[in-house]
């Protein structure tokens, strides 16, 4: 069959998206916050990590902090948490469609700032030739396996953290407030505060995952953080099952492996229009079919939590 190295790369990307989708599930699936600004948080974490690590004055940036990777990484996560807080405070006064468009707007603002503030971010040129963890220890050809190991470990950690959140009393309250806000308020839960906290935690996790994405791409430009990446993460979550703990991970693996497998189809270059349209068509079809025949996703919330959560799909936005 195909060279396994290729599928190692595909799986790496799938696990990165899976980790992000699991985090998205905490805020959107359980917290009921329709966050369309994942790209913005990812950009915050990625740029913070890169800028803190700049050690070459020839790159022409204003700051050359030169922090080591192990220090820049947690700082980037913390910074992304702060960005999430700054977004959450005004946005969480809104819900549903209004929250959705606000988070989307914040993500676009962050991306545009990355384009404009060229003395910090090198604008549309960005950074390439990035250092990666343990890259001096193995042959470059074997590094893909190392990266897969790192990413798999990260996905496991994210899974354990989100499962912990999901099965805790906190997680139950979060879902209860999503399903019946008035009741949660009546029971004395500080819903808004809880949501802000959840959003910030999600921000920290996204900020921590961001460098992994850069290790895969090996370069950073503002264009990486266009709204498309947010839609891919959402699509993964919807296919896997909104509300279930593993749904995001399963959905991302299905989506990314499917996309890359479709990409392997060979067509005579003469029919290039058909070739390049096959991939979006089949991904769109996959999404439509999953929603039609398994509207709760491949793993439904009901299955994830026994019967407790009940059937939710009928909930219509206000």
């Amino acid at each position: 069959m195909t060279n396994p190295v290729f599928w190692v790369g595909v799986l790496t990307l799938a696990l990165i998206y899976g980790s992000l989708a699991m985090v998205l599930n905490v805020e959107s699936g359980w917290g009921g916050m329709w966050d369309l600004g994942v790209a913005g948080l990812l950009a915050s974490g990625a740029y913070c990590y890169i800028i803190l690590g700049i050690d070459d004055p020839d790159l022409g940036t204003r700051f050359v902090p030169g922090l080591p990777m192990w220090l820049a990484w947690p700082l980037a996560a913390a910074f992304t948490g702060l960005v999430a807080l700054a977004i959450a405070l005004p946005s969480l006064r809104l819900r549903r469609e209004y929250f959705l468009i606000t988070t989307l707007a914040f993500a676009e603002i962050i991306r545009q700032i990355a384009v404009i503030q060229a003395d910090l971010t090198r604008g549309t040129t960005g950074f390439s030739s990035l250092d990666r963890p343990f890259d001096t220890l193995v042959e470059p050809r074997d590094y893909n396996y190392v990266l897969l190991g790192i990413v798999a470990f990260a996905a496991l950690v994210v899974y354990l953290i989100t499962r912990r959140i999901g099965t805790s009393a906190y997680g139950r309250t979060l879902r209860a407030a999503r399903d019946n806000e008035a009741l949660a308020l009546a029971l004395g839960k500080r819903v808004n505060r809880m949501r802000i906290k959840t959003f910030v935690v999600a921000g920290v996790l996204i900020g921590a995952i961001a460098p992994l994405y850069l290790f895969y791409i090996r370069a950073i430009t503002p264009q990486l953080f266009a709204p498309g990446i947010t839609f891919t993460i959402w699509t993964a979550l919807v296919i896997g099952g909104i509300g279930s703990i593993r749904g995001g991970l399963v959905g991302a693996v299905v989506l990314i492996v499917f996309t890359e497998a479709v990409g392997l189809i060979e067509v005579d270059p003469q029919y290039i229009n058909i070739l390049v349209s096959i991939e979006p068509f089949l991904v769109g079809l996959l999404l439509v079919l999953v929603l039609r025949f398994r509207p709760d996703g491949l793993i439904s919330e009901r299955n994830a939590f026994g019967t407790r959560a009940g059937r939710r799909a009928r909930r219509v936005p206000a």
């Binding site: 069959m1 195909t2 060279n3 190295v5 290729f6 790369g9 595909v10 990307l13 790159l59 022409g60 545009q112 384009v115 604008g123 549309t124 040129t125 960005g126 390439s128 030739s129 470059p140 050809r141 895969y216 791409i217 090996r218 370069a219 430009t221 264009q223 990486l224 266009a226 498309g228 990446i229 890359e260 497998a261 479709v262 990409g263 392997l264 189809i265 060979e266 270059p269 290039i272 070739l275 390049v276 096959i278 991939e279 979006p280 089949l282 079809l285 079919l289």
Partner: protein
């Protein structure tokens, strides 16, 4: 029915995946990784047609190393992520022997991987200033840098006698990068004034306000660095709103027939493109390329679509592989400057180059776009630069120009 199609496709991919291996009867595979969809989509078809013309030429002359050449096409969706996964597919699944077609941002994403895997790569249309100093081992660039494009724009503004220039710049890497060089050189080295620097993102429903701001700023001329799908509405505004007495300095992307059509309708308009050009004067390589491209595309080659560079890169890769006598990446990459640079018999086509190599002679390939002489960092020593203007509704080269050596590359 749709699921049946999906299933068929899955079978197709399994069959496709079972190929591979290193049999010498297998064709030599040249990768073509390019934005067929996404922001570079409007250029995609032209790039592919030119690449196909080149590969057909290689095969018509008996292939490379006696083997047929196959062009393996991969769409990168015009994103770095697409470039990374497309590259992985080309190298890990298809097992390509050399790579071409890729754009600046994708090139930078796969740059390190290309070196680790020792894959001979030609970046036919990369303007990025990042490659000004970093190529030459496995990555070669056969088009002028954005640095050159920015400087030539400023030089022409100076020579035309413009003191005050306004700028219209689309916010993308390929358009910002020459514009920034232009601005620095024009203000700091030439002493000109930028009356207005209007920058905007593409995909707007109209550009009236941006155009008015630039043209109402009292400038002697307006420098426009935008993609051509943005350029057409902007020039339509320029024409319709009565700004057509203000001269324009345009960039390479705007050397397209649609733009020429707009400019050509305006009496006495002055619009020049000061940028990279094809090498058309008395160049056999060019003369041989044009009819074949036209037969495939239905239109003549256009600089603004960057087709001829896509053609040149595969002729170079074919000759270099023939020179190296092997598909080994390191050997082929080392052979690239040997066949593009003197000394050697000057050749203009793959067939003549192949004949000279088989006769044991050194060759110096001259492509459709320049003499292809590369410096130590894999950049062109002297990219062809020209000032073009519209005559009879199409772009014609007015003068070939050399970069003024007194104008320097601005430090970043």
């Amino acid at each position: 029915m749709k699921r049946v199609i999906a299933l068929l496709c899955l079978f197709g991919l399994v069959a496709a995946a079972c190929g591979g291996g290193d049999d010498s009867d297998e064709p030599i595979k040249f990768g073509f990784l390019n934005g067929q969809t996404g922001d570079y989509g409007p250029w995609g078809a032209w790039a592919l047609w030119a690449a196909e013309v080149a590969v057909e030429e290689l095969n018509a002359a008996g292939g490379v190393l006696g083997r047929t050449v196959e062009l393996v096409v991969e769409d990168n969706g015009s994103t770095p992520e697409g470039a990374v996964s497309g590259y992985a597919e080309l190298t890990d699944v298809d097992g390509i022997d050399a790579l071409g077609g890729i754009e600046s941002d994708g090139m930078l994403a796969v740059f390190d991987t290309v070196h680790e895997q020792q894959l001979p790569t030609i970046c036919s249309t990369c303007g990025t200033t990042e490659l000004d100093t970093t190529g030459g081992d496995y990555v070669f660039r056969i088009i002028g840098s954005d640095t050159d494009n920015g400087i030539i724009g400023a030089q022409v503004a100076r020579d035309e006698g413009y003191d005050n220039v306004a700028m219209l710049v689309e916010l993308s890497e390929g358009t910002i990068s020459p514009a920034d060089v232009f601005k620095t050189v024009f203000t700091e080295q030439i002493g000109g004034t930028i009356t207005e620097d209007v920058r905007f993102d593409a995909g707007r429903s109209s550009y009236s306000a941006e155009v008015a701001r630039a043209f109402d700023s009292g400038a002697d001329a307006v420098y426009i660095s935008v993609g051509f799908e943005t350029g057409v509405p902007i020039l339509n505004e320029w024409k319709r709103r009565g700004y057509s007495d203000v001269p324009l300095i345009l960039t390479t992307d705007l050397l397209s027939p649609d733009i020429a059509a707009v400019v050509g309708e305006v009496e006495g308009a002055s619009a020049v493109v000061a940028a990279a050009a094809y090498d058309t004067e008395g160049n056999p390589a060019w003369d041989a390329y044009v009819p074949r491209f036209e037969a495939k595309a239905g239109d003549p080659p256009e600089i603004g679509f960057y087709d001829a560079w896509q053609y040149d890169q595969y002729i170079i890769l074919g000759l270099a592989m023939e020179k190296a006598g092997t598909t080994d990446g390191a050997a082929v990459a080392a052979a690239i400057p040997q066949i593009t640079n003197p000394p050697g018999v000057e050749v203009f086509t793959y067939a003549s180059g192949l004949a000279e190599l088989q006769a044991g002679n050194e060759i110096d390939y001259h492509g459709t776009t320049s003499n292809m002489n590369l410096n130590a960092v894999g950049n062109l020593q002297s990219p062809v630069m020209a000032v073009s203007a519209v005559t009879d509704g199409s772009w014609q080269v007015r003068d070939y120009v050399e970069l003024d050596p007194t104008l320097e590359k601005p430090s970043s």
